[in-house]
Amino acid sequence: MSLRRQLDQPWLLGLVGIFSLLLLWQLVAASRVVDPLFLPSPAEVLAAGAEQAQEGILVNDALASIGRVLGGYALSILVSLPLGIAMGSNRLVCQLLEPLLGLIRYMPAPAFIPLLIIYFGLGELPKVLLIFIGTLFFNTLMIMDAVKFVPRELLESALTMGGRGLQIITKVVAPFIAPQVLDAYRINMAAAWNLVIVAELVAANEGLGKRISLAQRFLRTDEIFVGLIVIGLIGLLIDLGFRLLMRRTCRWAI
């Protein structure tokens, strides 16, 4: 087997990339070119992570952040699906809502935080709503686009076999757009994950974002690194989960 083919494994090069960065980090940290206060070594970060894990803070924070993301994103999924399908399949609904959504989409979601805090205080609700607001419009518009691109022949075939309104939606439109919808949810999940951290940076008692902002106050760069890496890993796992779901349910489209 040639080197090129050996290298052409789905995971191999990705791992090489990650380990190269880790190695570079280790070398720079060990050389003490950068003040360790600013750049802790991988070992120190690992130790800080282990400490947090032992105290139970890490799991607590992660669960708090994941809970908010799931709550807000579930709401976004539930609302965007029927809304996107309605906009994609009905011209009037689309004309009514598309300019509105296009406008709100350009308002940065974090800019809603002050308003949400005034309305709903500092509890969980404003954080969940922030994630909802910040992902709803992207999800809806992407689903709308998917619906608009359902091939005419597929719709008309169903019509000429006696299909009617709701049947067309559930038997033709829904299965056809399923892969694109899952992909849209996967991509916009990253935004949800960004927003929960932003919300926690502003106001929270626990959560990965909150931990990072506390660490900043005490100049604990190792804990900031822990937070960043954990956030990245959870995001990666969610991404892989969506990919797995896609492979399971939409085999025909892969």
């Binding site: 008309e156 075939s157 019509l159 000429t160 006696g162 299965p175 056809f176 939409c250």
Partner: protein
Amino acid sequence: MHLSVKGVSKSFGKGRDSKLVLEDINLEINSGEFVALVGSSGSGKSTVMRLIAGLEQPSSGTIHMDDRPVRGPGPDRGMVFQKYSLYPWLSAADNVAFGMRLQGRNKRDVKERTAYFLEVVGLQDSASRFPRQLSGGMQQRVAIARALAADPKVMLLDEPFGALDLQIRESMQEFLYQLWERSGLTALLITHDLEEALLMAQKVHIMAPGPGRIVRTVAATLDRSNLSALRMERSFLELREDLAGCLRGLDQEPAVLAARSLASTTGSSSSG
């Protein structure tokens, strides 16, 4: 079954941008007939079919199915499209069953009819395969089986073999003709291929573009016991050439006129 199209015209667009695509179309199809509509692209032949299917509404004129006006699509008028009409997430069998399930037939009935129609199109062994695992010809046979299984009174075939290779196309033509012969179905075939139309249809309407209209109708009474022999037969070739000349004349009208006027100006200048 009796389908009648009377004085149908169709224009697309509104006001000054409106374009007349069909003018005064009249045709009838009776039970068991195989009728073909032949024309070049832009002759509006597909629009005629879409009007009959109820996917478009005529601007004027009427379309009746068994004395009832056609107002929209319905399962009494099954349709086979040129391509891309199978549901890619369903197996061949589930595609065939699709229309029957929409109509709410009971499970046993659906299962039996699915197996039967897959066999009719010779694909019983491919029941569990997905559309992308099937060749173009096989996909079209599934599409035909699906339309048949939904039990239409008339089959509307919109260039069903237009996207297939020539050789597969010929075998599909023979397949469709034999299917028609065995099952006694009623069919309207849209095609730009004269040979295809003459091979299968007893009645062929020739359409001309700008605006689309029927300019000639021929009854093709031919001995169709051997289609591949018929393709080479003299009477068949003569009829085909005659109609092809008619089609060419229609297509080239503007070009011929331009050439003639050019010839006359050069002629006058050389004489003068």
